[in-house]
Subunit: 201 residues, 2 copies
């Protein structure tokens, strides 16, 4: 029996921090681990920027609500949910992704969470598990699932390697070249065909 | 971070085999493990009955499509999906439950599967994992989730025991008496209150 594990940002929705940067005009929110390699330092910087601009959880939610899934993502996901259980494995925060999850018809999302004070200030974040994408795929395999995993970047590679079938979706050329063992596709039609063809044998 | 693991039949939808018995008039489909303690013998009997009455997958699907979730289940589930990820853990078969899952807005269902021939005959069944409810809850705990599990009968007890919080929903009196350690509720309003109050401390 198959299960599908999908990355979220880049596969079904745009990058949330980029969307926040664009919509708030706070350009420094575009920083990624390429700019600040220490993830914890990066998150402190991001939460500090939100605080400096007096943006609380409600403001962030309102901004994310103006974002939309990638074109075709909703239809693809609806089709995939007819093929077997779908679990979205993401390093985003549950509170950030909420409005976009509603637009995707509430798929099951396993991710991290924010600490929000009573006055709506985002005071901290909690990483549920340091390597949860890989660990989740391994857990589903111990439950006797045939796991197909789909991701787009370096932080998905461990998940793809742990899966029975790993697929790169719109991955940068560097990732595709470094990991030629994974099939790579650029649109949902090709992803649909690949998912159909990489099932249990 | 919380995750919710729910049994399906008796918690969100009626018993499917009973529904099939009622709608097809095949009274012998009402048999449960109380009547035929060996589950494999019971399943052989059920599939034999379907074959004797020339009922294939399409017929069963059409019958199940006339069934509906328990009153209030859809609204409860929608609310719960706003509280955290929800995984339905059931010993039903994916192909049977399909039409009812659509009526519940496609929640994530982990269960077993049937072997359906090209001509639609249900020729066999595959139990994915002998004890998947308990094993799934344990897996989610290793992924650092706080697990709340909800079930209604003996085959849910191992799952409830493995969870951080276990709740009986409309369980028979014998089950409630034998397992007084689990909170027991009879309707979705009470279940909602209990779910709110048994979270992480």
């Amino acid at each position: 029996m198959r299960i599908f594990c999908l990355d979220l940002e880049g596969v079904l929705i745009p990058e949330i921090w980029i969307g926040l940067a664009e919509r708030t005009g706070i350009d420094a929110l575009r920083a990624t681990t390429r700019d600040v390699p220490d993830y914890n330092a990066l998150m402190r910087q991001r939460l500090g920027l939100l605080e400096d601009h007096r943006l609380g959880m409600r403001d962030v939610e309102a901004v994310v609500a103006t974002m939309a899934p990638l074109p075709g993502a909703r239809e693809f996901l609806r089709w995939l949910r007819g093929q077997g259980p779908v679990i979205i494995l993401s390093d985003t925060y549950r509170e950030f992704a909420g409005p976009l999850m509603a637009q995707l018809d509430l798929p099951t999302l396993l991710c991290h969470s924010l600490v929000v004070d009573e006055d709506g200030r985002i005071s901290d974040y909690r990483l549920r598990h340091p390597d949860h994408k890989r660990a989740s795929v391994e857990a589903f395999r111990t439950l006797n699932f045939h796991v197909t995993a789909v991701g787009d970047s370096y932080n998905d590679i461990a998940m793809l390697q742990a899966a029975d079938a790993g697929i790169l979706f719109r991955a940068p050329a560097a990732v595709r070249e470094e990991y030629p063992e994974f099939a790579a596709v650029e649109d949902y039609d090709a992803l649909r065909d690949l998912v159909r063809n990489c099932g249990e044998t």
